[in-house]
């Protein structure tokens, strides 16, 4: 307790030297927490948006379906199983039929995916209700597209575009599609190169009545065994996000350790200088009756207390700053929208207790270690030399 008191006294007594270190360390605290909070916020937002817009409470995939293998799509549809049909009728599932096609916007050819979905579904947030009240006549098929798709095809609401596809019997056919809605979504994977059509009309186009490629389940759904269909849960469907956030976190760690390293260097330097300049003081402390180990503890505590002061200082300016950022969000550059991952225009950082506590503990422990390394030299000092300010 006395050593703690003395360490605090020495630290405050050192004046500007202490406060410079504290400022550097506090900035590391704030930036580390902000950056990790931003990644956590992005992770949460990406997961939430992907669940709400694309995957719901999990999906049943036709056994042949592999979204990463375009050759499987042609054969990956089947009759919707009775259990899933029942859930669909209750509004707890949304079957989707996926087909490959080409469109010809502005005279160009572009390969797209056609996705048929019930206009009445409420399982995901695609604005399918805009597909309602349109004729099931194949002459003009209504379609909802995303902003990214609209941008790449130069299509606007009300525009017509020719679509050409091959049905399940291998027959090529074509019709006009009218864009009835351009949706804005953070989830690029329901937008890029995709047209959302009424389920019945796509079934008719593909000659696949009552068939679907996948069935999106409402949130809270419990996994049941369905013959010929494979249930994909959140762990499976969100693995891309998880991997990307993981890689971003690793990238973030570089900055994290760079910032910490700067603070460590500052404190290490202070400690080395301190022990060099305060040799006489060290000798005096030993002469006055302190054991060497107590003096080592005193100097180590002095170093590690930088982190306590830094945490307090970081709280003073960091809490309002981080709070403001959490409320106002962090605007993401426009180009990140094309990364294929759910990135909102603004990311709202999330600062969990675990993040703040974890960062504080890591900083405190690391600073203590950095402080201890030079302080150990005290144990080898000869007090008779130290009193005179000599190096032994």
């Amino acid at each position: 307790m006395i050593v703690l008191k003395l360490a605090f006294r020495n630290l405050i007594g050192a004046g500007l030297r202490t406060w410079l270190n504290v400022v550097v360390l506090s900035m590391s605290f704030v930036v580390i927490i902000w950056q990790q909070g931003l990644l956590d916020g992005w992770n949460q937002q990406a997961r939430r948006d992907t669940i709400e817009w694309e995957i719901g409470g999990g999906q049943y995939w036709h056994k042949n379906y592999d979204p990463y293998d375009p050759f499987t799509i042609e054969d990956s549809h089947g009759l919707i199983p009775a259990q899933l049909l029942q859930s669909t009728k209750k509004g707890q599932a949304a079957p989707v039929l996926v087909a490959q096609a080409s469109i010809y916007p502005q005279g160009r050819i572009q390969n797209v995916l056609l996705k048929g979905i019930y206009p009445d579904q409420k399982v995901i947030q695609i604005p399918t209700d805009r597909l309602k009240n349109k004729s099931v006549d194949l002459d003009v098929v209504p379609a909802v597209i995303g902003t990214r798709m609209a941008k790449s095809t130069h299509l606007h609401v009300g525009d017509y575009v020719t679509v050409r596809w091959r049905d399940t019997n291998g027959t090529f056919d074509a019709t006009e599609i009218q864009i009835v809605q351009i949706m804005k979504t953070n989830v690029g994977t329901v937008d890029f190169n995709q047209l959302w059509l009424p389920f019945d009309q796509l079934q008719k186009m593909m000659q696949t009545p009552d068939q679907a490629t996948l069935v999106i389940m409402a949130q809270g759904h419990e996994n049941i065994q369905v013959n010929g269909w494979i249930f994909r849960d959140h762990d499976f469907l969100l693995r891309d996000i998880k991997e990307l956030i993981k890689s971003k976190t690793v990238g973030g760690m570089v900055l994290y350790f760079l910032l910490l390293f700067l603070a460590w260097i500052a404190i290490f330097d202070t400690q080395v200088l301190s022990i060099f300049r305060r040799r006489k003081e060290i000798g005096t402390l030993i002469a006055l009756g302190m054991t060497r180990s107590r003096v080592v503890t005193l100097f180590t505590l002095e170093g590690s207390m930088h982190s306590i002061l830094a945490a307090l200082m970081a709280a003073v300016y960091g809490i309002p700053l981080l709070r403001m950022q959490a409320m106002r969000g962090f605007s993401m550059p426009e180009m990140t929208d094309n990364m294929g991952l759910a990135i909102a225009d603004k990311i709202f950082p999330v600062y969990g207790a675990g993040l703040v506590l974890g960062t504080t503990i890591i900083v405190m422990i690391s600073v203590t270690i950095v402080s201890l390394i030079p302080a150990r030299k005290i144990a080898t000092m000869k007090p008779t030399d130290a009193i005179k300010g000599k190096i032994s």
Binding site: T284, M290, T291, I387
Partner: protein, 240 residues
């Protein structure tokens, strides 16, 4: 304690390594000191005064022979035991004062009491008493940087005396002071020696200090050349 001696030195030899050879700083010292002595080691530079003082102060250990302070053998003490001995029984006064620069006068004097785990009330009383002995009660809040050399040394005396140690070891305490301050300091120490019966041991070659010693031990080349009562001492009493 051996024959009421608080310091007992028998055949003390101290060697220091010097490259591949050794330098013998003390060669067979035999001395004893009783309570309340006001004695000093005098001699030229390199005669072994400071080395002897350091060994008595358990800051260094003998190479051969025995040194017992407050009935504890210095050569056999662990770092921890030596620290406890210094903490409890010994006070130090250094040539360069060695005050802790970031502490105030009050905090500097209070420091040894903190190590002794004295209560805040006890500490306050003892610190104020010690500062009164040295006449610095008006400088309580000053830091060492704001004091003159004489005032700093008086703070160092207060710090050495605040815990009322049995022995005070003073290494060239007046070397950085002018004549007036030197006399003032020495008179203060002499007064404390008489009032508190604290044993004062000096290492000095300053004639002003020598003038106050009641016992003068002359060291030459690490040996006691002369151990005598100082007949010309300005000191008014005390016992040997």
């Amino acid at each position: 304690m051996q024959n009421n001696h608080i310091i007992f030195i028998n055949k003390l030899i101290k060697r220091f390594p010097m490259g591949n050879s050794e330098f013998t700083a003390l060669r067979g010292i035999n001395l004893t000191f009783g309570k309340g002595e006001f004695a000093g080691f005098v001699g030229p530079s390199g005669s072994g005064k400071t080395t002897l003082l350091n060994i008595i102060g358990s800051l260094d250990s003998p190479s051969e022979g025995e040194v017992r302070v407050m009935d504890q053998s210095i050569g056999n003490l662990s770092h921890k035991q030596a620290a406890r001995l210094r903490n409890k029984y010994l006070g130090f006064i250094f040539q360069t004062y060695n005050l802790l620069p970031v502490y105030t006068v009050y905090e500097n004097v209070e420091f040894p009491l903190l190590l002794l785990n004295k209560s805040p009330g006890e500490r306050k009383k003892a610190v104020l008493d010690a500062l009164e002995w040295v006449g610095l009660t008006d400088k309580i809040k000053s830091r060492p940087g704001q004091l003159s050399g004489g005032q700093c040394q008086r703070v160092a005396i207060a710090r050495a005396m605040v815990k009322r140690p049995q022995i005070v070891l003073a290494d060239e305490p007046t070397a950085n002071l002018d004549a007036e301050n030197s006399h003032h300091i020495l008179q203060t120490m002499e007064k404390l020696n008489q009032e508190l019966q604290t044993t004062f041991l000096f290492a000095t070659h300053d004639s002003k200090v020598i003038g106050y010693l009641r016992r003068k031990i002359s060291l030459v080349d690490g040996q006691v050349a002369k151990d005598e009562k100082n007949k010309s001492s300005k000191s008014r009493g005390g016992k040997k």
